[in-house]
Each structure stands twice: as C-alpha cells, then as structure tokens.
Symmetry: C2
Subunit: 159 residues, 2 copies
DNA sequence: GATTTTTTTTAGAATTATTCTAAATAATCC
DNA sequence: GGATTATTTAGAATAATTCTAAAAAAAATC
C-alpha cells in the first residue's frame, strides 16, 4: 500500500483509544485464524465488522474502501473476503448467478433478496419455521439450509 | 446450421410418428410463446423436455448437444435458455455464484444441491413445510421462495 | 534497530461465464 | 421462388473472479 497520505490519516485516526481497542480485538481475531495482521485486513475488518451486520460483494466493498479514502486493490479484497470466509468470519450467500455475496452475520438465518436493488435483508432463523424436511438422500449429509425469499418493489397503487 | 450430415440424421430420425408428434407439440409450444420454430430450438427442447425433469447449465446442455451428435453454438444455447425461461418453460435456480442453472420443473418446489457434484435434486413443495413466514417489508411484494439444502458426500464410515 | 525470512499486496494478465455483434442463414409469408 | 423477418453463428467483448511475478509489508531473528 503506497499512499502515505492516506496511511497517515488512518494512523492519526487510530490514536483514538476506542479505535486502538478495536484494532487490538480485530488483530486478535486475525491471529487466531492464522492470518497476519496487515493494514488492508484491518481496514476491511473495520468496514465489515462495525455498525452491525452487512452484506457485501467485492465490488460494493471496494467502493466502500474508496469512499473511506483508502486504497486497497480489488485482488486483495477478493483474497481477503475468501480468507475471512474460510476463517469463519463471513458466510457466502448465493442469490445471483453472477455475483458472490458475503454476510457478516454467521449465525443461521435466511434472507429477503430485493431483486430491483440487488440487496439482501436478514430474516432471523426463528422468523421462519421449516418442518417436515425431506430425508437426506443416501450417502449425503446436510451442510446448510438457505431460504431465499425474492421480493421486488410493489407497484404504487393507482390513485 | 451447416452440418448437412447431422441434419439428415435428425430428419431421418424424425420420420418416426412418435417423434413427429413430439415435434408438432414442441412446435406448438414455441409458436404459442411467439418463438419461431427452428432446428436448434427443437433440438434443445427435445433434450430439455423429454424423459422427465432436468437441471442444466449452458455448458452441460452444450455437452449434451454434442453427445447427441448435434452442432449448436454456445451463443444459441445461452440465447435459447433465456428465451425458454422468459416463455415460462424453464425456471432459473441460483445455487452457485458462477453458474446459471435452469430447471425444467416449473412448478413450485425446492432443491438439494450436492456441492461435491454441482448437482441439483428436486424436493417436492409438499415435502417442506414453511410456516410463520415473516412479514414482507413495506413497499415490497413476494416473487418467490426458494429453499436450498446444501449437502455433500458423507465420509464413508470407518471400518 | 537492522537484517532476514515469510507472507501479503499489487497491477495487470488470465480465466471463466455470459452477452454482444455483424454477417450469413433459416423460417415464414406472399 | 422472392421478399421479409427472425435466428444462428463465430468470435469479440464484457464482467466477475482468479492468477502471477515482483514489490512491499509483517514478523522473526539477530
């Protein structure tokens, strides 16, 4: 990462005690997952694991990075998303055959997918009850169950 | 389509009365959907809508075409899959962020997805009971509900 | 702190899946 | 059979993702 200007901005901002504590916690999680603590990883972790749950694609995360005045290559973003997923920090959600979505909420849950906006909304697992699951075919074992409810914008009612 | 040899084979095979009846039925469906009846469309329709339900990607369908000794361009296959879907003959199933799957079973149902084999198995809608669906967020309307149960090969039990 | 080692990041190339395009071909209508 | 319209085609283009070699950064060692 070459942009010293942006690096200094980050370092200044990170002198804040709360920020330093967050950095310490994120660093701990990264090390626990066998990942080196690097500036790009910390920056991505902050964007992903702050202010509640998020759904991102590589592209939307890249835009958030740029909006935050940072500079991280797209390749690093793809790389990091996959490493965070393998570390168990993220879950992949498949709702579009041409984009990979990643969810910071790793507990079992389901989703609304708003097709007009390519946007996901979490549905808590308890809000959907699935009974009467079919028998798993022989020789196979269940990995995970996803319920995707595709919705679109309702047409405005006629005046 | 230039391969006269293959074309003659098809035409010879299609003299069979059952085949001619099938061709007439498929032609009727194509016309009803506003699609011209062409050799490639008939050939793809036969592969898709014969012998029960199928799940295909463009690539797997292309291979079936070649295995049947036919020659249809990959662009035509993509084109036709989308036209059949828009005509209501196929449903798209999203289980992988890098491939589009198409299902000839257009009635409401769900799927097992065998991740080791990239293969789908239908689950009849009645085999899964979803109760307690959450309220649709304001301004949105439901399009469709998909349940995907991801499974993989079970490890062989230790001897 | 400097050096060495290892890992990561990077920019751009490469790959893969899908879509686009202009020209040729085929289907339909007359 | 000719005219018109739609489709097919091969290959280019696009988009999303992965790969690569070199540079940079992080960690370990001294």
């Amino acid at each position: 990462m070459r942009t010293m200007y942006r690096k200094k901005m980050m370092q200044a901002k990170n002198k804040d005690p709360a920020a330093q504590d967050q950095k310490a916690q994120l660093s701990k999680r990264l090390r626990a997952a066998g990942l080196r603590v690097t500036e790009p990883r910390l920056a991505l972790a902050r964007l992903l694991f702050t202010d509640g749950n998020h759904h991102v694609t590589a592209e939307t995360l890249h835009k958030q990075v740029q909006a935050a005045g940072l500079s991280i290559s797209l390749a690093t973003i793809y790389n990091s998303l996959h490493q965070f997923m393998e570390a168990g920090f993220l879950r992949q959600i498949v709702v579009d055959a041409n984009h990979s979505y990643f969810d910071t909420n790793i507990s079992p849950h389901h989703h609304f997918f708003i097709t007009d906006e390519n946007r996901l909304i979490d549905i808590p697992a308890d809000d959907i009850t699935i009974t009467n699951l079919p028998a798993i075919p022989d020789g196979l074992e269940m990995k995970r169950v996803d319920v995707i409810i595709r919705v679109n914008n309702a047409p405005a009612p006629a005046e």
